[in-house]
């Protein structure tokens, strides 16, 4: 449910950048989102169009790069891929995992003019 406020945060970042870097129109927004960021990508896409309407990013194309989830398995002593926070280690089945990647929630780049 907080995808709308995430979109409003994105708009806030865009507005700050518009001031700092002097642009008035955003054509494309590229985000980097991990599977452990707690964000539902479909809901974000929906919220994006609604929040950007009648702003400098109205009609901007939304591009999402989905990153991979990774964790450090303590028993195995190595990095392993995970899809969700409660996944077991795919090698040994342990839950002694420390998440090391996949919680990204980032604006990667903007295409502006």
């Amino acid at each position: 449910m907080h995808e709308m406020s995430i979109c409003e945060s994105i708009l806030g970042l865009i507005r700050d950048q518009a001031k700092a870097q002097d642009f008035s129109k955003v054509k494309r927004v590229c985000l980097e989102i991990g599977p452990l960021s707690g964000v539902e990508i479909e809901a974000l896409k929906f919220g994006f169009d609604v929040v950007m309407r009648d702003t400098l990013a109205d009609g901007a194309r939304l591009e999402i790069i989905e990153t991979a989830g990774t964790a450090w398995c303590m028993p195995c002593g190595q990095s392993v891929p995970i899809g969700q926070r409660f996944d077991a280690c795919p090698l040994c089945g342990s839950h002694q995992l420390r998440v090391t990647g996949g919680d990204e929630l980032r604006v990667k780049e903007l295409e502006v003019n």
């Binding site: 907080h2 507005r15 001031k19 077991a88 990667k108 295409e111 003019n113």
Partner: protein, 279 residues
């Protein structure tokens, strides 16, 4: 004039006052009506070339919230205040638990409460009845408190040095996980009427929390709730999480929770910068 921020949206209310001071203006000095082809970033106009450009940002979407949260955290550190962010689903018994906790801590600690709800000041009223100062933040349509709201609430609440600030978040196991408020610990409250698989259904919240209070344990004889399974599920998501079993109604286990708070407060005081006033 507000010193926490430079903005505010109309939906958020702190104790009935609309938080809508200084509106945003995002005007740009573009001369409308005439075309200046040399105003682009390159400072020139080249036929056939657009002035579209790429800006690499690599900026965290929640960075603004994190800035407010960091400011709150610094204030807590400087003044030896322990801040706890209490998160749970609606109806887990957060407010009852807080009322009981404040009663038990009375005379030992100075508790303050920031109450987050979409509407009404019912919870802050319940807390004030205990004698502890409380402030209600209504988030309007918002589903969580954020660092900015808590910064303002702290200005109104003005907690004394060395006190404990309980932040009762909006009843929601999803969104508050993502929004740092500057607290020392998130404490998740899970009641035994909810189902032992909740940590797996809402893993982000249990991953972000340091402690689970398994509440309403007085009801266990009437339920099929599997305490061990609930704890195992919480540890699957967060191997380091601690679990305390309590009943706010009967007081069972509450002494352990109060001891946890006092230990956390001692840690917070130990982290104070040298020269800070002794508590």
């Amino acid at each position: 004039m507000c010193t926490v921020c430079g903005c505010g949206e109309g939906e958020i209310r702190i104790e009935g006052e609309e938080h809508g001071h200084h509106p945003h203006h995002h005007d740009h000095p573009h001369g409308h009506g005439t075309h200046h082809y040399g105003e682009g970033p390159a400072g020139t106009s080249v036929p056939g070339m657009s002035q579209t450009r790429l800006i690499r940002l690599e900026q965290d979407i929640l960075s603004k919230n994190n800035t407010y949260a960091a400011r709150n955290r610094q204030l807590f550190a400087d003044r030896g205040i322990l801040a706890l962010n209490l998160v749970s689903s609606p109806g887990s018994g957060k407010t009852t638990l807080l009322v009981k906790t404040i009663d038990m801590l009375a005379g030992r600690l100075n508790p303050y409460v920031i109450e987050g709800d979409q509407q009404t000041s019912a919870d802050a009223d319940r807390i004030r009845a205990t004698g502890a100062p409380a402030i209600q933040v209504n988030t309007g349509k918002g589903c969580h408190l954020d660092g900015h709201m808590v910064g303002h609430a702290l200005q109104h609440l003005a907690p004394v040095d060395g006190s404990v600030v309980f932040i009762e978040n909006v009843g929601n196991l999803v969104c508050p996980a993502a929004f740092d408020l500057g607290e020392a610990h998130k404490v998740a409250i899970l009641s035994v009427t909810e189902g032992e698989d909740k940590p797996l259904k809402y893993p982000d919240m249990f991953a972000a929390s340091d402690l689970v209070l398994l509440n309403k344990t007085d009801l266990l004889p009437h339920l099929d709730f599997d305490v061990e399974a609930a704890i195992a599920n919480a540890r699957k998501v967060n191997p380091a999480i601690r679990v305390l079993q309590v009943s706010a109604r009967t007081g069972d286990g509450m002494a352990g929770w109060c001891a946890w708070i006092e230990a956390a407060r001692a840690m917070q005081l130990a982290g104070r910068p040298p020269g800070a006033a002794a508590e």
